[in-house]
Symmetry: C2
Subunit: 585 residues, 2 copies
């Protein structure tokens, strides 16, 4: 086995082409074996085996510097740069993260997880090299849908004027997470079909030199191409056509499902987990599809992650022109939604908390200043969301709730969520964001009759005294548990409040609480800084009311266990109850 003997890229350079081809098979087997037990980005990495070998064969990492876009395609790079054990031996699987990470290896330069950043980051490395008078190659590796993101296009435009070495490898597998969308990808297809000769060439239009590699899974062709551009004195794009999921039949066929996988049976390709039960994604898709049928102006929008809002390929087909996948282009999704609403449509944009970060200015300028009625559904916005440091869902409250005019809602159950969604779609006064609850899926069957247009009106769910627990969204149930413990432990029955609104406070209710309460406890499923609880603390600043804000510390956490993080942040029911009781002593 060759792979076992590769502890740095220099070991690779001793192999012949036919040996490299064997190595590729070994790497592919290692990927299938690890990911079938561990889960991860499957299709993208299977497609990049040969290109990664060729890159490390031609370039001299880490002197030459690779920047992987999103870096979900860096598994093979990790295998070849001293981290093979994490792919060969189950006990080492978790030694590495799923993305590049400078703390892991000197061959990684950035912790990356969002798309479309590699070209700009690489431009920075290149320009700094030029200032120092150094000569190494800087190589950005981008693809898998990332090219349509505005940041990548800004980077390409800048690269077009950078008068020195920069190599941009465009891994074109004809896919994003789902199928590709947009004129750029039509152009790439024409380039593939014309052996790189089509005049619809984005890279040349941006001022870059251009090289095409027809078979991006052929090591020998790739080595030739990379040798040709090595030490280039100007920016060049190397467009390689690869096959997503190559070498594993189910992934070659169903490229969307196999973009990322949970553990599966490698013989059958069947997932070891069953996801057929109802969740916030499926009910969102079901609701919207029904709504579309009765109202042709309802339109659902995704930026390359259709299934998070429940739109499987079948549902997309059913929705027809009332469903739009804009590709990886979150800024466009928000701005276009504002335009949709301005001309009478009812847009609903479903997006991960971590990715809505890419659109602050569009939320503020295109949407909020214009008060256009987009319904923004924010998924995985929770400590129970994605746990990679690059995909945290704990910053959206400060991000969204401090923009004027946006109504940010926090449902606590399925029923409340659907009621909010329906209210939002039907109103046309405000941009509305809904923070889909994280953690346990709760459906209590209660009919929700609240009129959400009476803004910032909190709901008192249990009347009590002395202590008021204001528990937001997915932490409502944590608040209820804490309230129960407080009562059991102290005999004091706290008032329990579902605030419903994140973006504003119920001054009238807060004022009234002063009569029978001396402590207010706030709970939120996100960072405290700039968040919900601090608004309540500020409200009571000039009074005798004590306020305890519970939430997460402002920090980047990585690959964490939610239970540990909750405990560290004093967020167990017992800790909350103890703190509350102590404060009234």
């Amino acid at each position: 086995m060759y792979l076992e003997n590769i502890s740095s890229p220099s070991d690779l350079r001793k192999l012949s082409i036919s040996e490299l081809n064997v190595l590729a098979s070994e790497m592919r087997m290692a990927l299938i074996s690890k990911l079938s037990r561990h889960g991860g980005h499957f299709g993208p990495n299977l497609g990049m085996v040969e290109a990664t070998i060729a890159l490390h064969f031609v370039f001299d990492s880490p002197t030459d510097k690779f920047v992987f876009d999103v870096s979900h395609q860096s598994y093979c790079h990790k295998m070849l740069t001293g981290r093979k054990d994490a792919f060969l031996y189950p006990e080492h699987y978790d030694d590495v993260s799923g993305y590049t990470n400078p703390h892991e290896s000197k061959h990684d330069f950035f912790t990356v997880g969002h798309t479309s950043t590699s070209v700009s980051l690489a431009c920075g490395l290149a320009k700094a090299r030029d200032l120092k008078g150094d000569k190494e190659n800087i190589v950005a590796i981008i693809g898998d849908g990332s090219l349509s993101g505005g940041e990548a296009l800004e980077g390409l435009d800048f690269a077009g004027e950078l008068n020195s070495n920069l190599i941009i490898v465009v891994n074109d597998n004809d896919m994003s997470i789902a199928e590709n969308h947009g004129g750029i990808y039509k152009g790439l297809r024409l380039l593939r079909e014309s052996d790189g000769k089509s005049d619809r060439n984005l890279f040349k239009a941006m001022g870059l030199d251009y090289v095409f590699v027809k078979d991006g899974n052929n090591i020998s062709d790739l080595i030739d191409a990379f040798k040709k551009v090595k030490d280039s004195s100007k920016p060049v794009a190397v467009h390689i056509a690869t096959q997503k999921g190559k070498g594993y039949a189910p992934a070659e066929t169903d490229r969307e499902s196999w973009h990322w996988c949970m553990p599966f049976n490698p013989e059958t390709g069947k997932s070891l987990f069953n996801f057929d039960s109802e969740d916030y994604s499926s009910i969102t898709g079901d609701y919207l599809l029904a709504k579309m049928k009765s109202d042709k102006n309802v339109i659902a929008i995704t930026s390359a992650t259709p299934t998070v809002m429940g739109f499987t390929p079948e549902k997309r087909l059913e929705a027809g022109s009332q469903f739009i996948d804009v590709g990886i282009a979150e800024e466009h999704a928000v701005a276009m939604s504002s335009g949709l609403a301005a001309n009478g449509a009812k847009p609903v944009y479903g997006v991960y908390s971590s990715f809505i970060q890419r659109t602050y200015d569009q939320l503020s300028q295109d949407l909020a200043i214009n008060s256009n009625a987009l319904t923004l559904v924010v998924f995985a916005a929770s400590v129970f969301g994605m746990s990679d440091v690059t995909h945290l869902g704990i910053f959206d409250i400060p991000l969204i709730s401090n923009i004027p005019n946006i109504v940010y809602l926090a449902p606590t159950s399925k029923e409340e969520y659907l009621a909010m969604l329906d209210w939002s779609v039907e109103q046309n006064e405000y941009p509305v964001a809904i923070r889909v609850p994280g953690g346990q899926y709760i459906s209590d069957g209660k009919k929700v009759t609240k009129d959400f247009s009476e803004l910032n009106k909190f709901e008192v769910t249990t009347e009590g005294s002395n202590i008021a627990v204001i528990a937001l969204g997915s932490f409502y149930h944590l608040g209820a548990q804490a309230a129960q413990l407080i009562e059991e432990q102290s005999g004091i029955k706290p008032t329990l409040i579902n605030p419903v609104y994140i973006s504003g406070i119920d001054c009238e209710l807060l004022e009234k609480l002063k009569a029978e309460h001396s402590v207010v406890v706030t709970l939120e499923d996100g960072v405290l800084d700039g968040g919900f609880g601090q608004k309540i603390a500020s409200f009571y600043g000039n009074s005798d009311m004590k306020v305890l804000n519970f939430g997460l510390k402002k920090e980047f956490i990585d690959r964490y266990n939610p239970e540990d993080v909750l405990k560290e942040n004093h967020l167990t029911p017992r800790q909350i109850a103890d703190d509350a009781i102590n404060s009234i002593k």
Copy 2:
């Protein structure tokens, strides 16, 4: 005079081409006359006179819908849509804003002020039209540097797949605010020089049809081109080459200076105001230029607004390759800076508060997670900054200070600012942002010896008791005035604190204050929600300390008088003093 008789675009359509040419002269005179007294976007509008006439001649606004990018080029559109008085009669000059505004006219669809949004907004209007089954033309008008912004490129990519009417007029005047940068503009130049025939065609590469108009200041040619694309059933880019500043000699020659003007003498072109005195822009440029000479790794970056960080054309020349204008591409500027720092350079990016909003995700992901040492200098971050609703500088505190790892500093004087700048450039542990003070320029000659690497250490500037005034950045002097009034009025000498840090609090000092103080007053020059003071209120939530947070209400304010806004927000020294004294009664 024709202009006086145009109260809607239909009046325009009754005129012959030669009459339209006379109208163009009248409009140009009106622009020069108004802007010489009032100030505004000069060059951009002078270049767009003929194109705007032709657009309104061919299309039927408001059924056909125009979306102006940035909308600083919409003055002529306003003249032709019932708002001519605001350009003809001084007493009506302020009847209109400097941007499109749906509250002003049914011919305007969005309040816009940031760049690069028009294509996405127009895509939304077009898609909503298609859902309804309507047939009007949707026309985006973009140019003047906006094309390089990621949002615009995402929009173009999407447009390339939109199978229906969308007309994108690209007003190519070869300029941004300063000269254009990036491969896109090199491509536009090749198109201009080849009469539209160059194969470096971004629009075709994105999947759009393409029409070129060589003389974009010729009404008749423009009318022909627009007639050709009217009712097009697919997206088409109409590339028109115009002359920025056309018709006013000084503006034709010095296009950068005349992008925007203060009132001037129309005969000499001389500004009525003298800006030669030192300010935060000039000292930033001077400091950086000196630094660059002693350290080749220091590099200054702008996104199309070089003069805000003091880089006049002469200074840019002097800085050479140590100064980069990335064009309108804020996301790229931040991400590239992270790359620069990762490879040993010392990047300094100067940017308006309103435009740093475009980079939240880059600040968080590309920069902060990687802890790369960019120095970000944030200008016009103040109630005394720009007062158009689209250019407010009052939201950056919640935006930046709640991102982990970023150190956000608030200097109170020239001396403190320069000390921070120097510390930040020389350290390589943290991304640092510096909030340049708004309002009066204060230089007290004091030597600053503080070690800023001891994070979150507030400075007590006056020891007192009972009341502590924590006054941030440009509101420090307001805090000092309030403290003095408190002492005069009540005999209580308050403690006065310069917190220095926006992104963290000095828990040790705050704890110590409890001994001799019962009220803490916080002051910040921005919105309260998600800001600095609320962190202090939260800190003291579980204590007897009263906290009064002073700052701005979370709302979009437009074309305001700062004094009025301060008064409405209880931010005069007298109001603050009264509130503080009342709270200790």
